[in-house]
């Protein structure tokens, strides 16, 4: 199952993964998950809040499109994506990606590649607030390089 959720509410990655993995088929030999958390500090210093803006309707559609693209590319049927928007406190989860497959290589590739796509292609805009005010965060050169590798 391809399952995607764009939500303004906090979520618990372990509970979501437990639910998603419980529905696995007898052929499932591998479950890979990635959870991304809001860090308490960035290269700009202490972070007191992260705000993720999204484009209602469009963001949901794009996340669904990316999840389906990656599932098809790696020939796997079970992919989960949950992505927060709104105000996020340090330590809170931002994103969860999970993939199930018969063997581990496809699940690893799918989760890692989907994260690379989300970093540069998911319609969110991030603003970090710290002691010196707020600033918008854009993908790093490293994010772009990783994403480009998949287009080849």
């Amino acid at each position: 199952m391809i399952e995607t959720l764009v939500t303004g509410e906090a979520f618990a990655p372990d509970a979501e993964v437990a639910r998603f993995v419980a529905a696995r088929g007898a052929d499932c030999g591998a479950a890979v998950t990635f959870a991304g958390y809001c860090r308490g500090a960035s290269k700009n210093g202490e972070v007191t809040q992260l705000e993720l803006e999204h484009y209602p309707g469009f963001t949901e559609k794009e996340i669904e499109r990316l999840a389906c693209l990656i599932a098809a590319k790696h020939n796997i049927s079970d992919v989960l994506v949950i992505h927060r928007f709104g105000a996020i406190a340090p330590g809170e989860p931002i994103v969860l990606v999970a993939a199930l497959s018969a063997h581990r290589a496809a699940a690893f590739a799918a989760v890692e590649e989907l994260m690379d796509y989300l970093k540069t292609d998911a319609p969110f805009w991030k603003r970090e607030t710290g002691p010196d005010g707020a600033c918008w965060i854009e993908p790093t050169a490293e994010d772009r390089r990783r994403r480009e590798e998949h287009s080849k």
């Binding site: 484009y55 469009f58 992505h83 998911a122 969110f124 991030k126 965060i137 854009e138």
Partner: protein, 84 residues
């Protein structure tokens, strides 16, 4: 009426996320719309013309300067995306 949306740092540049506008008759394409917005606000015009800005027409990524926008209900300008 057309809804124009600005996200991320373009929202700051536009002074708000949303504008409801009636397009003048000489605005027919994405390029015309950009020029028209720049006419009243050069800083905004330059921000929405920057590299990496996507144009979304009625919730479909477009990015073609020649795209006809006269029948569109909603046009969004997106600065570089950063999920995850």
């Amino acid at each position: 009426m057309m809804r124009i949306l600005f996200f991320g740092r373009l929202r700051d540049a536009a002074g708000g996320r949303e504008r409801l506008v009636a397009l003048p008759d000489d605005v027919g394409t994405v390029a015309d719309l950009r020029d028209w917005l720049a006419r009243n606000d050069a800083a905004l015009g330059s921000a929405i013309s920057a590299r990496g800005v996507h144009v979304v027409v009625d919730q479909v990524i477009c990015n073609k300067d020649a795209q006809d926008v006269r029948a569109a209900a909603e046009i969004a300008f997106l600065p570089p995306l950063s999920g995850g």
